[in-house]
């Protein structure tokens, strides 16, 4: 059933975007975190997406996936930490300041995160629309034969 497949693909997009939203939330929350278990300030994280391979499971499912190699869902392949340098500010009273009074802050840029957040939202909405469209088509198909 191709329309169900469309819904499946779109929902893989939704979960990937949700995951991205989690990462953005984590970045924004840790905007001022100067100490992490590794000893350095929080590093900005970002998701890496890739086209999903046909999932395992029943033979029919894998076969279907191979037949429809063209239309693929998406998955989060990795969550990477940013290698960007930490900005330094002069705050001699800060508990994490070094000898010369500088504090290394997380390499999170709030504007960048908010931009990403808006994009994630749009992507999520687009996925929802695809699902709604497929659902309507399915419903109408069922109604035709009533």
């Amino acid at each position: 059933m191709d329309l169900l497949r469309a819904i499946e693909i779109a929902s893989s997009g939704l979960s990937a975007q949700r995951r991205r939203m989690d990462v953005i939330a984590s970045n924004l929350t840790n905007m001022n975190t100067t100490r992490t278990p590794s000893g350095e300030p929080y590093r900005r994280r970002d998701v890496v997406m890739r086209s999903a391979e046909p999932e395992g499971g029943s033979f029919a499912r894998v076969f279907q996936g191979e037949m429809e190699r063209s239309a693929r869902g998406v998955e989060v392949a990795d969550v990477r930490e940013s290698r960007a340098p930490f900005p330094k500010v002069y705050r001699p009273n800060h508990p994490d300041a070094d000898e010369s009074g500088y504090v290394r802050l997380p390499n999170v840029n709030m504007l960048e995160e908010l931009g990403d957040l808006a994009l994630t939202q749009r992507s999520y909405e687009a996925g929802l629309q695809v699902i709604a469209a497929a659902k309507t088509l399915l419903q109408k198909t069922l109604d035709t034969l009533r």
Binding site: D2, S51, A71, R72, V74, V130, L137, K140, T144
Partner: protein, 207 residues
């Protein structure tokens, strides 16, 4: 209609092979139901056994064909509509994949060449790859599984993005609506056809 003649041809072959005195062969339709459970003719008549096997495989083929052509029950227009529904359902999947992969680096936006695929589907798809059974032991392909996926092409004129992704979300949303509209149109026409059939079956206007 073709399926029915196939069935009756097969059952005629069986009744020929049957030993005399087993009663007249039933109608083709009741035969179709009874066939899987039909008692085998007396052992020791190899001809009859072959005929039953042949009948079964013929029946299976005819039934599979029948299911595949459910829309063909009506006429050519209905099977063309079926092709439209099929294609737009697949296109929906391709668009869904594009939207889902909106942020995948290196992903190339894809699309189904609707016009040429539809033409191929209506013309009977001479250039399409189909699964066929060349021996009795082969598994019968499921209805509708006989043709491979429609050719999926990469979208042209896609905007350039540094990460190599070519999905234009506005365009995808436009295609989504366009595709849904095509699907709806075909569906409505098919509904009319069914309504017409119902009207004929239901004693015209005297219901």
């Amino acid at each position: 209609m073709r399926d029915k003649t196939e069935i009756s041809a097969a059952s005629a072959r069986l009744s020929r092979a049957k030993p005399a005195g087993q009663g007249p062969s039933k109608s083709a339709a009741s035969k179709a139901k009874a066939a899987p459970a039909a008692p085998r003719p007396a052992a020791g008549t190899p001809d009859a056994n072959i005929a039953v096997g042949e009948l079964l495989s013929e029946l299976r083929r005819a039934l599979g064909e029948g299911a595949k052509r459910m829309a063909g029950l009506f006429d050519d227009a209905a099977s063309a509509l079926r092709a439209v529904l099929d294609l737009s359902a697949r296109r929906q999947g391709v668009i869904a994949a594009n939207v889902a992969n909106k942020d995948t680096p290196g992903y190339r936006a894809k699309d189904v060449d609707f016009a040429s695929e539809l033409r191929a589907a209506i013309d009977g798809g001479a250039d399409r790859v189909t699964l066929s059974r060349t021996a009795q032991g082969h598994i019968a392909p499921a209805a509708g599984a006989a043709t491979l996926d429609p050719a999926v092409v990469e979208r042209e004129g896609a905007p350039f993005r540094p990460d190599g992704n070519t999905v234009d979300i506005d365009r995808e949303m436009l295609s989504l609506g366009e595709n849904a509209m095509a699907y709806n149109a075909a569906l409505q026409l098919l509904a009319k056809k069914i309504a017409l059939l119902r009207y004929a079956v239901g004693d015209g206007g005297n219901r």
